[in-house]
Each structure stands twice: as structure tokens, then as C-alpha cells.
Amino acid sequence: MGKLKLYFSACLVVFVLCLLQLQFDYSKLWSGLFKLGNTISLMLPPDASQWQYVLSAAIESVQVAIIGTVLAIVCSFFLSFLAASNITPHPALSWAIRGICSLLRSIPTLIWVLIFIVAVGLGPLPGVLAIMIGAIGSLIKVFAQSIEEVDEGVIEALRATGSSWLGIVIQGVLPCALTALLAWCVMRFEGDLAESTILGTVGAGGIGYELSHAMRGYRYDQALFVGIVIFVMVFSVELVANRLKLKMAKRL
């Protein structure tokens, strides 16, 4: 109990220090409230006049997400079997892959896209690469987790038949882990779509570019329309994804 109190007071001190250090001008909160009201009035009604551009950019975002996610799924699928501790051909290999994955995960997608823009220029390609790298980092981790949950007995039984490693993996482990892996893929696609909409704001193609373009031109009504399109897009994918996941859960 005493320890808990200590941690709590330490957190409080840090919080207060941060607050003092940053020296907010609290009067701005008040005036900002009025400005926000003003901005909202500028947003309404949403302006859909640029819909062709917005729509094609939205499609581009979806394409970036699809390609990035699918490439990541393919890579992660093969690597995760090497990373899962229960069937890895060598523990060192498992450690190496896991280490690289944590490294990939620790760098945010927005940073990856900036790196890839430097490397391959503007456009959807750096977006695809950034999404792929981010997704690989997390997919391998969760894939390996699901593979590690496969019943040890099944693996033992197939090993005892004299099966090769590949035979054990594809004939024994994969059928047991398949629905879990598919569920992870669907979930990852949801996340990647949301991410791909943001990537355009830094010049990696897609609907994010339309958003920042409208904002920079103070066309808040157009920006709202873009916002609505993003919302509908992400929301409908989530809806479909939830349906899929429900179906998979039933098949379990």
C-alpha cells in the first residue's frame, strides 16, 4: 500500500511540474472557444463540389491500405512461423525476428513515411511501404502469439510421424491457427486504412492530402466534406470487418 502511495505522489509531482513548465496562457482557451465556434460555422454546410478529387483520393487511400496490408500479411505469414517459439527451427532465429519487429513497431508509421518519401519520392509508394513496414512489425508479433497457442500435443503428434518441419507447420499448426490469423489480418486492415488516410497529409498520396489542401486554403467547408468521407470509409470497413470476425468466431 505504501508503495502505491509513493508512485501516486511521484506521478502527481511530475504532472504539476509539466504543467508549470509549459506555461499555458489560459485566456487563450476562452478566446479559442469563440474561434472554434466561428470555424464550425465556416465548415457548415460541407462543400462537396470537389467530390471527384476527394473520391479518387479516397480510393487511392483504400488501395494503399490494401496493398500495404496484403504485402505485410504475406511477409509476416512466413516469418511468424520462424518467430513462434514453439516451432521455430532455432531459438536465435526467433529472437532475431522478434527483435527486428519491436524495432519496426517502435517507429511510428508517420516517421516511416517521411523516411520513405526521402528514399522514393512523393506519391502513394512511400505510403504503401510505410504501412507495410508498420503492419509487418505488429502482424508478426500477433501471428506468432496465435501460433504459440496451438496445442503442443498436435505438434508432437506430427513430429512423431517423422514429418518434416514444413509438414508439421502447414498440416498441423496452420489449420489450428488459421481463424486467429485471419482475424488479425482483418483487424490490421482496419488500422491500416485509418493510417493511410493520415499519410496523405505529409505527401504520401490518398485522401489525407485533400484534407490538408482544404485546410491550408481555409476551405473548412471542403475539409468537413473530406472528413465525412473519411469517417464513412473507415466506419464501413469496420462494420464489414466486425461481421467477418463474428462469422469466424462462429466457425471456431
Partner: protein, 259 residues
């Protein structure tokens, strides 16, 4: 020729637990040997050392004249496919069909890619179907394995082991999770299949009556040591309580050994 020769087999687990303290025995083709002993005696360890699922610490295992204690990779696969294994928990691939599960017994004979893709040839499929017929499950062939009852699943396990065309079957408490009726069917199936094809069987059992009923020979293990090896008729009640209860009968049986 002796099918299997085990000499001074010892196993110490990495955490220091002694699983086997030096066990020796021989097995002839077609023998049906029951291994009995209390929980933790080392029965599972013994079976798993034989097909190298567990690496023994010392001693030698000779199968059909070849020492297999140290073989690796391809040869190890060839050794394992000569020994079918049956498990207490059946260990079937739950989401695959019954037929596919039996076909898994052929994986040891196939190259890596063919096996992985499940490209079983016609003879393999015919064999698997015939074996399912033999264990009385041809009706259930295309069902998912987890739709079957425990006793049926264990018979699929037997068919999978038989599909390896093994010289030896290692059965680790095949009936421990089954009710008496299903146990009877499973043991009968296993016994008859082994007898028909001259397959030797090493079967860990908890129930002494079952061991006495089916086995041609019984091996008793206690605390990692072989304390009995003989015909079922020789297994007296004193010997049974010696195997299972230990110390207090030691003097009575006069078998005090120095470990």
C-alpha cells in the same frame, strides 16, 4: 532379430529431475508390452526417449540393429516413421477431416513440399481408407476430427499410427481419458491391429487389469527404474503393490536396489 534394444537408458531433465535411472530391456517383433507404474515413474519419459521426442542423457537405443540414439535430421525422420505414437489426448488436428488426420501418418515418407501441401498419392489415400475401415470409422471419414467422440478420436489416432506402417507402436496411456466401454474398444482395436500386422507395441497403462488382459509381457517402472519385467501371470499382488506403493514393501519383496 531383436526389434528394439534399450541399454542403460538415463534421462535427467534440464531442471535436475531424474526421469529415468538407467533402464534396459529388449523387445521382439509382435510383442504387446504394457508398461505400468505410478504417476511420475517415468513411463512417458521412456516412450518419448525411444522416438527421440525427448533426448536421453545416456544409454543406447538400437532399432532393428541400428543405433538410433544420435541420428539426426533425415535419418531421425526415418526412425520416427517406424514408430507410431498414440497419445492420451489423441492429439488430432481438430479442424482437419478424419481422413486427413490418418493421412498425416504418411508425412514421414513424403518430401517436405509434397507433405506440406498434403499431396498424398492414391496408395496413401487407399491405405488410410482401409485403416479407417479397420478401426470401424469409415462412416466418419469426412467429418471434422473434433466432431468425434473420445473413443472414436483415439481410434483415428490408432489409424494414424498404423498409416506409418510402423514396426513398433508407442502408446502413452491411450485409454486414460476414456470411459470403460470406449477403453475396451480402443484397446481391442489396438491389440488386434498390432497382432494382425506383427507390430510390436509398448503401451503405458494406469489400469493393471487392462495390462494383464492384453499384454503378452509387463514391465513395471518405479522412480525411473525397471522393477518388474515378466509375463502377466508372474505379476503378483505383492509385486503390484511394490511397484505402486514402494518403500514399505521393499524388504518383503527383497528387491532393494542401489540407485
Amino acid at each position: 532379430m531383436t526389434l528394439l534394444q534399450v541399454e542403460q537408458l538415463k534421462k535427467v531433465y534440464p531442471d535436475g529431475t531424474v526421469g529415468l535411472k538407467g533402464i534396459s530391456f529388449e523387445l521382439e517383433a509382435g510383442e504387446f508390452v504394457a508398461v505400468i507404474g505410478p504417476s511420475g515413474a517415468g513411463k512417458s519419459t521412456l516412450l518419448r526417449c525411444l522416438n527421440r521426442m525427448v533426448e536421453s542423457s545416456s544409454g543406447t537405443i538400437t532399432l532393428q540393429g541400428n543405433t538410433i540414439t544420435k541420428v539426426k535430421a533425415k535419418q531421425l525422420r526415418a526412425v520416427r516413421r517406424k514408430m507410431g505414437m498414440i497419445f492420451q489426448g489423441y492429439n488430432l488436428v481438430a479442424r482437419s477431416t478424419v481422413l486427413t488426420n490418418v493421412l498425416h501418418g504418411r508425412l514421414g515418407y513424403m518430401n517436405s513440399l509434397k507433405g506440406a501441401l498434403g499431396l498424398f498419392n492414391k496408395q496413401d489415400t487407399e491405405l488410410a481408407k482401409a485403416l479407417l475401415n479397420k478401426v470401424g470409422l469409415s462412416e466418419q471419414m469426412y467429418k471434422r476430427a473434433d466432431e468425434l467422440s473420445g473413443g472414436q478420436q483415439q481410434r483415428v489416432g490408432i489409424a494414424r499410427a498404423l498409416a506409418q506402417r510402423p514396426a513398433l507402436i508407442l502408446a502413452d496411456e491411450p485409454i486414460a481419458s476414456l470411459d470403460p466401454a470406449a477403453s475396451q474398444t480402443v484397446m481391442q482395436t489396438l491389440y488386434e491391429a498390432c497382432k494382425a500386422d506383427g507390430i510390436a507395441c509398448l503401451c503405458n497403462l494406469h489400469q493393471v487389469e487392462v495390462a494383464k488382459k492384453f499384454a503378452t509381457r509387463i514391465i513395471g517402472i518405479r522412480a525411473g527404474e525397471k522393477v518388474f519385467d515378466g509375463a502377466p501371470e508372474q505379476l503378483t499382488d505383492e509385486m503390484i503393490s511394490y511397484i505402486y506403493e514402494g518403500a514399505k514393501h521393499e524388504e518383503a519383496v527383497g528387491r532393494k536396489e542401489t540407485a
